[in-house]
Symmetry: C2
Amino acid sequence: MKPKNETVRRQIIDAATDLIIETGIAGTSTVKVAKRINGAQSNIYSYFKSKEALIAGVFDYHQKLITATLAPALEDATSPKALITSVASALFEFATTHPTSIQIIAAFRAQPSLRHQLPAIDENDVFTKLFGLFRRYQQDGLIKPIPAEFLAEATFSIIVDYCNAKLAGEAYTSALDETTVAQLIADLVLLRA
Amino acid sequence: MKPKNETVRRQIIDAATDLIIETGIAGTSTVKVAKRINGAQSNIYSYFKSKEALIAGVFDYHQKLITATLAPALEDATSPKALITSVASALFEFATTHPTSIQIIAAFRAQPSLRHQLPAIDENDVFTKLFGLFRRYQQDGLIKPIPAEFLAEATFSIIVDYCNAKLAGEAYTSALDETTVAQLIADLVLLRA
């Protein structure tokens, strides 16, 4: 059952993305996606063989977008601080240009029971590279000796918290800029000099 | 339309909680809640006058549970570090004993568009007290001069990340204990000595 048509595949992903945002992961089904693109459910199944595969496909699509944004940020890194600064600034940029992707990824992260259905993080080249950089800096005593995966999780959460608070129009965000948030993340990740 | 019966009110909250976890906030309705408790939709309306009021009621219920757990942690605080340690340990305890409440609160936080429907944080005595403590320590130069609300958001997110990673059985959590996570939060919140 190889995907036959990239345009249709994207239509399915886009419709499923909208449905997840409107009605949650549980509220999304291949029937509803088919209805939304005026297609047959059997047509969806030639791209995604189950609801689980469709849901994983949506996550994978948005994760690929975010890692494509992160990839160049990893190239610039000449120090742990430069790495944190460029990762944070890439994530802020991504959150502004792709608010939907941030909401989808956050929705998946909020449901630990779904994680086993999703692509493993170490299958992703960009995360593998990021964690490798973290471990190298840890060996050099520059980054805290804490699992790189958790430092990455916490970094992502702090950025999402900031972007959500701005989106929600929280008054306090006017007293908080991206540079300050990036410095908070640096304090979290880097060993004190 | 005053609530007539606390037991029925709790049944409604519990059924709505389960529905939100199973099908998301968007997938929850007064009709579905009525069906689940074998009651009439009109009966739900005598406790909550709309779906929005019901959703806000569910959030309020779980937020009261979490703030009741936090309240004694604020009493113990003799220093900013002691405050962070006791808040973190209260939240870890709460996440273990009330995983459902954590999931509900996280689901609401992931949807910035809902925030204006929810009770404002400064209407809550415990948060008012926590933010007051943060501001006092900020005046003393012990806590970073960053909006207390954001420091609290980030603290909550890091704890939820850790609890979710454990719930999901992420291998790296075996190399990460609650004390280390609490220390990360202290590094985030406290000014470097």
